[in-house]
């Protein structure tokens, strides 16, 4: 049916889950096959979908801080696996707007860097991004492009690959590799499973259900600019066209999440993952003010995750939220304390760069000994709200990770 529609040039619409979607393009349909193909990894057991599990809103299927890859599936990745849901179509290319007038620059906010794919925004397109996991030694671990092309040529969808991209597409491994990445990109952009909008909050926005008293309390705390201030970055309002919010503004932020001892690379003293300024990303290495910056993720389906922040330092939403509101009021809870009792705050930044940590935006403006902006009961309310962001098809994933789905 899809091929026929494409051949006829007909833009047919499919009705899926009450929403009208265009059929996948031939490239996207091929990309689906590639996305789920574990034979494209050195281990033969790792596909894109292994870490970006469709049953888990295209996020990780377990609570590991980072996922395992490599030929023996025994090498740690460097960063927590993000969900691919919702954000892919709308992630802007990486940019840092320069506002010429310093008064407006200050008044309107010296725009932080924004966008790009990955925690450090180093890929402007999905087809660029797709090369990284295929070639990374601690992910799918292919030795080179030729090997990937050879695997594509042996894949069950090889004939379809030739049909879509030409009979001689495998003549040049570079071309085959580029086309495979293009197909992946089309699948990720076109497939409706990446943006189902079936959460309780979506139904609430459409007036089809009501939030509970606790969920509404949580939403108010989430929105309050003088307390949680979450919605400033994790945008939660409808667009002017009625489009539903994606809970991210794609901007970069230095939260100074504590160093995670679960990541083996962190055993090496002096080794830091500084996000935007490196080491994975290299083009902004000279911008020291960017060190420690990671991109704001969407909070949709956050309640089914078992690893939070770029390094997966926390494994429960409660801890993640407590860190936000108690980072500064009680730093001993989060950072190492020396024998002398000194707290090494912002310990996952080199000492010379710890001033980069955000101490300007609520709730990160407080000081040791002050009361946190949220009580434990408040945090429970916010968690109740965040659970309303879980898509219907991902609710089944919640119990496996020890969390309850939202009350419908």
């Amino acid at each position: 049916m899809k091929r026929k529609a494409a051949a006829l040039g007909v833009i047919a619409l499919l009705l899926i889950g009450g929403t009208r979607y265009r059929p996948l393009s031939p490239e996207a349909a091929l990309g689906r096959g590639i996305f789920f193909d574990a034979s494209l990894s050195a281990s033969g057991r790792l596909s894109c979908a292994t870490c970006h599990s469709p049953a888990h809103a295209y996020g990780p299927p377990n609570g590991r801080a980072v996922q395992l890859g490599g030929p023996g599936l025994d090498r740690q990745g460097l960063r927590a696996v993000p969900s691919l849901r919702y954000v892919l179509n709308r992630t802007p290319v990486w940019s840092k707007t320069y506002i010429a007038n310093p008064a407006e620059r200050i008044l309107e906010g010296d725009e932080p860097p924004t966008g790009g794919f990955g925690w450090d925004g180093r890929f402007n397109t999905l087809h660029d991004q797709a090369a990284f996991p295929l070639l990374a030694p601690n992910e799918m671990a292919n030795a080179g492009i030729s090997g990937i092309a050879a695997k594509l040529q042996r894949a069950p969808y090889a004939a379809a690959f030739r049909q879509v991209f030409g009979a001689r597409v495998f003549d040049d491994p570079t071309v085959a590799f580029a086309k495979a990445r293009l197909a992946l990109e089309r699948f990720e952009l076109e497939d409706p499973s990446f943006h189902p909008y079936t959460s309780k909050y979506d139904a609430y926005l459409d007036g089809q259900t009501k939030l509970s008293t606790q969920e509404l309390r949580g939403l108010a705390l989430f929105d309050d600019p003088k307390r949680g201030n979450c919605a400033t970055c994790h945008t939660d309002r409808k667009g002017v066209d009625g489009s539903h919010p994606l809970f991210t503004d794609y901007q970069f932020e230095v939260l100074a999440v504590p160093r995670n001892p679960e990541i083996a690379a962190n055993q090496a003293p002096g080794s830091y993952d500084l996000g935007l300024c490196g080491p994975l990303r290299t083009d902004q290495a000279g911008e020291k003010k960017y060190c420690g910056m990671f991109k704001t993720p969407s909070l949709r389906n956050v309640a089914i995750r078992g690893a939070f922040f770029h390094n997966g330092r926390f494994h429960t939403l409660k801890d993640a939220l407590r860190f936000y509101v108690q980072r500064d009021t009680d730093p001993r809870l989060w950072y190492p304390v020396s024998a002398s009792g000194a707290v090494e705050t912002f310990d996952d930044l080199p000492p010379s760069l710890r001033a980069n940590a955000d101490v300007i935006d609520q709730p990160l403006t407080h000081h040791q000994g002050e009361a946190p902006v949220w009580s434990d009961a408040d945090i429970d309310d916010v968690i109740a709200f965040l659970r309303t962001l879980t898509d219907r098809d991902a609710e089944a994933a919640s119990p496996a990770l020890g969390v309850d789905p939202p009350a419908r």
Binding site: N89, K96, A100, P102, I106, T114
Partner: protein, 438 residues
């Protein structure tokens, strides 16, 4: 600047006693200036550049300086009416002076108590003949506050605002009459959006540079969706006289108006869409759009094109406390006015004033407004009625532009575009200025 204006204002008053607009009259010209028969006015507003840069030292705008200025008339003493952006745009179409919020782009938590895209909190109207809205704050004027657009419509003239990028991202703003939802938090159009798969061109429309969106008389009316449109519509509209509005107001996006970007193209100084911005992008925009206007039948018949800026640039002062090492950065606006401009009823304690934005042991950041004006920006006029390559040093500001447009279409005077000769106030009408007009 007050010192510069004072003798000119005295001259204006003397001439006004003879019921004549009192502009400089070149030797041999007619003694009684008459308005040119202009019935199509095109306005392009660029952003945040000082006269000395735009028409002097900058090398980024050769088309404006070396092509358009020789083709047109240059108003060297044209002033913005405030800092920062929004209050200037509002003054251009309504004659209203700022509220404590519009004077700072309706950014919350600065000098206004309301901010964002919210209604003006009106407490009254001045009875001094200028009908200034007295307000504690807020940004969107009630339906009773009229604009030149309203007056044009009432008089049977057409108008349109052409906004580059408006509606590129329909989640941010509509493609027509685009503005944030009233009363719903932060105005996200304050920030340019870079291109994405869903929004391939990005979206650098800024509501605060679209003055029509701040008047309920416009946004509440169904015709708003017809009259405030994306710039893409301009080419079609220019094709015929009957499709070209009498009043055309053009706002480029945040990059093409020079607001964003440094203009050098150097990494780290670009716009969100990757363009160089600054006067470089503004000049490229003019090269793209101005020839279309100049070639249009309406312009050729009876057109006037006005190219100006909203406000001037700044100066910066950095001092370091030798004992503490604390650095203080002051971004300073002179806030100079011309034309005996009045501050309006809402700026007590706001302008002049200093806004402290950051105060840490190592760094203090202040914005210092030493006045309530918008400083010298300049304006270029193009028309068959203009004497090419001529200049005028008579002071004008955005209220003067409004008055000029009103007079050309025979409209009443709104807000501070009105005069009060006995009180020494006359904003000027540059269409009567024989230094630049034939």
């Amino acid at each position: 600047m007050q010192k510069i204006c004072r003798p000119l204002c005295a001259m204006l008053l003397a001439a006004a006693s003879a019921l004549l607009p009192n502009f400089a009259t070149p030797a041999g010209a007619a003694a009684v200036p008459t308005l040119p028969d202009i019935k199509h006015v095109f306005v392009i507003v660029l952003e945040n550049k000082s006269y000395a840069d735009t028409f002097g030292t900058s090398t980024q705008d050769p088309y404006l300086q070396k092509t358009l200025v020789p083709m047109g008339g240059l108003l060297t003493q044209y002033y913005g009416t405030g800092h920062v952006s929004l209050d200037n745009y509002i003054s251009m179409i309504s004659g209203q002076a700022p509220t404590p919020d519009t004077t700072n782009d309706c950014l919350p938590g600065l000098t206004g108590s309301i901010g964002n895209y919210n209604d003006v909190a009106k407490t009254g109207v001045t009875d001094d003949g200028f009908h200034q809205v007295i307000a504690t704050g807020g940004c969107i004027y009630p339906s009773t506050t009229k604009t030149v657009a309203d007056l044009l419509t009432e008089s049977g003239y057409s108008w349109r605002g052409y906004m580059e990028d408006m509606g590129n991202d329909p989640a941010r703003e509509g493609a027509t009459c685009g503005h944030p939802l009233i009363g719903i938090g932060t105005d996200i159009t304050n920030t340019a959006e870079a291109p994405s798969a869903e929004v391939p061109l990005g979206d650098a429309y800024a509501t605060r540079h679209n003055p029509f969106m701040y008047f309920h008389s416009i946004i509440n009316h169904p015709s708003c969706t017809v009259n405030v449109v994306n710039l893409n519509q301009l080419t079609t509209d220019l094709a015929r006289i009957r499709t070209t509005p009498n009043f055309v107001f053009i706002t480029p996006n945040l990059c093409d108006d020079g607001h964003d970007g440094k203009g050098t193209g150097a990494p780290g100084t670009l716009c969100a869409n990757g363009q160089p911005g600054g006067l470089t992008s503004a000049d490229a925009f003019l090269q793209r759009v101005v020839p279309q206007i100049l070639a249009s039948p309406a312009y050729k018949k009876d057109g006037l094109l006005i190219i100006t800026f909203d406000e001037s640039n700044y100066t910066e002062s950095v001092t370091v406390n030798p004992s503490s090492g604390q650095e203080t950065v002051d971004i300073i606006f002179s806030g100079a006015v011309c034309c005996n401009q009045k501050p309006g009823p809402n700026l007590a304690g706001v302008r002049p004033g200093t806004i402290n934005l950051l105060n840490t042991p190592s760094l203090v950041e202040n914005i210092v407004d030493n006045g309530y004006g918008g400083d010298q920006i300049g304006a270029v006029l193009l028309s068959k009625y203009i004497r090419p390559g001529k200049q005028s040093s008579i002071p004008y500001n955005h209220y003067s532009m409004l008055r000029t447009i009103e007079d050309l279409f025979g409209l009443r005077h709104l807000g501070y575009s009105a005069d009060n000769i006995s009180a020494g106030y006359f904003p000027g009408n540059f269409a009567l200025d024989k230094n630049v007009f034939k």
